[in-house]
Subunit: 344 residues, 2 copies
């Protein structure tokens, strides 16, 4: 089923042209391309073959051909070449977030924003999910009687706030004592360990205090994971640009789909921790995205992959460009995070 070189060249030209123009491409335009010394008739024959092989589709009998998902797959695997980034693009990407120190949330949001601005598609950035965050500080702040605010600070610089019940007789002093004790005892422990160690080592107190400490452990365990399943989303509107065959209904559905963050999270997660991954149309496994592609890249803290970012747009996106951008941005975000967080 392998294609001869000429078929490959033609297929590639078709994909390139279609990505550029968005209109079905006919044999004539290709034959006019000086790099082919073939008549349109010859090209037509080849195109017919390519269609039989499942690489091309015809919207209507008398229209040009459009690449199928299979063609894009081949294109991305074997033909695509990363495009060089323009100076402007590099400038934008390298400038962002560089000079100011910011919270993790802000960094992620800005990353997504830059991504969507440069690509003009919708950008998704998964929060880092390092089980390796280390505890910096725990503070229980008394609220109304029976409630306390739990502030967990990790080296990820994130202070997530949530509220737990505490025994009514537990005063501010007691809460402070506990905070300090836990902070000291588990200082610099990875969050994944803190939970188990607390359950183990504080078994005695655990029983005395009823549910309080177990609640606290739960809260703390989910604290670094509070980032889990969270993503930053930017440029959802860009979805509206795309359906050129635009009926507003489809646009609405797309928008709605994109804004379901947990479903988007799964999409990113499914793409796996590969350096760069491209999922095309049907490969995404969701009808609504059947003519969308998702390009993802994994970013690292130090050498450990901790999250995925991606861009979702029409299948006819300029893959070379998008891949280059994601490659750059994932490394950029990685180094920002690494600088920001890791000085263990």
């Amino acid at each position: 089923m392998d294609l001869n070189p000429r078929k490959l060249r033609i297929l590639r030209a078709i994909v390139d042209e279609y990505i550029l123009s968005g209109a079905p491409v006919g044999s004539k335009v290709l034959s006019q391309n000086p790099s082919f010394k073939l008549s349109s008739a010859t090209i037509r024959n080849e195109m017919a073959d390519l269609e039989d092989l499942g690489y091309l589709e015809q919207p209507h009998t008398s229209a040009g051909r459009v690449p199928s998902d299979k063609a894009y797959r081949l294109y991305v695997n074997n033909m695509m070449q990363r495009s060089n980034l323009t100076e402007d693009e590099v400038k934008v990407m390298s400038a962002y977030c560089q000079n100011k120190v910011k919270g993790l949330d802000a960094v992620m949001r800005e990353t997504a924003s830059v991504l969507s601005n440069i690509t003009h598609y919708t950008a998704l950035v998964m929060m880092p999910e390092s089980g390796t965050n280390r505890l910096r500080h725990l503070q229980l702040v008394p609220l109304a009687e029976g409630y306390a605010l739990v502030v967990v600070v990790t080296d990820a610089g994130v202070a997530r706030d949530s509220v737990i019940h505490v025994p009514a007789d537990m005063g501010a002093d007691e809460l402070d004592r506990i905070s300090r004790s836990i902070s000291q005892r588990y200082y610099n422990c990875r969050m994944v360990e803190v939970g188990e160690r607390m359950t183990r080592e504080m078994a005695m107190e655990l029983q005395e205090r009823g549910t309080f400490l177990t609640d606290l452990v739960d809260t703390m365990e989910s604290a670094p994971g509070a980032n889990a399943h969270r993503i930053a989303l930017s440029g959802a509107n860009n979805m509206l640009d795309y359906p050129a065959y635009s009926d507003i209904d489809r646009a609405r559905q797309l928008l709605a789909a994109v804004e379901k963050k947990d479903s988007m999270y799964r999409l990113l997660k499914n793409a796996g921790p590969f350096e760069i991954c491209v999922k095309i149309g049907s490969e995404l496994g969701q009808d609504i995205f059947s003519d969308c592609s998702l390009v993802t890249a994994t970013y690292r803290i130090g050498s450990m992959p901790v999250g995925t970012m991606g861009v979702i747009g029409p299948t006819r996106m300029p893959y070379g460009k998008v891949v280059s951008v994601l490659d750059y941005m994932s490394k950029s975000l990685g180094s920002i995070l690494t600088n920001l967080l890791e000085e263990d």
Copy 2:
């Protein structure tokens, strides 16, 4: 320029009908309404008058009439009656957020979400801007050398995180000492005061420490104000439902406009701290919203107004319903916040 009772009745019927159907209303449908014992001809005459007076508009010579902004204004001021909420609606609105204790952010987000779900329009909820938040705790957490994370906890249960520079020689102990000292000294002070008092009372240290303390003061001052200018937005997509005369371009512009949060913030702010306020079309002062209306309500903590929530949708929205919903929700949010925060 006052209208006789019959004109009023007719105008009202037109507005009601148009809000319901969305199509220009003609004289015939009105004459069929049994509550008028008039022929369509008579009604036509009245409608012509109403048009001359600026209450009605004709999309085309031979179409029915459509209410003008002026008509909506009259309607809202004098004719509209709040509609009763359905059981289901009340159930949804009273159930939300009630059983779980959550952070402020989550409460605001859910409020917006409920609002947009019930009304099917776009909901905006301004973060509470009480200058009355009181300091609970300040914690400086050392990060990399020269950086510290500032965690400010107020009785609003919010821990906002931001990073400041600190002198390189300032260690964890020193930071801890400062944290504790400030926390104690200004415990339960209103945040608006903390800033000035610190600048005043710590003038000496201020000079020694260079920019560190001024940075800290800035950060703390903006901490409760970090909520300022922030809004929760929900249901922006619903904008797409609305332009029935839907060209996708206009939809895009609307979406883009709605997602400019600072501009939306100003809109809410401009509506002022009234119990309920309705701005119709041109009254919003933005061309893009010329056929939208904004209904806002103010919510309170205790008896003090601290924020505004609103719903933005087409001018032909069912005002009675929307006003009822906003009235209910603003009170509901108010009591949630009051319970959550105020036990001074």
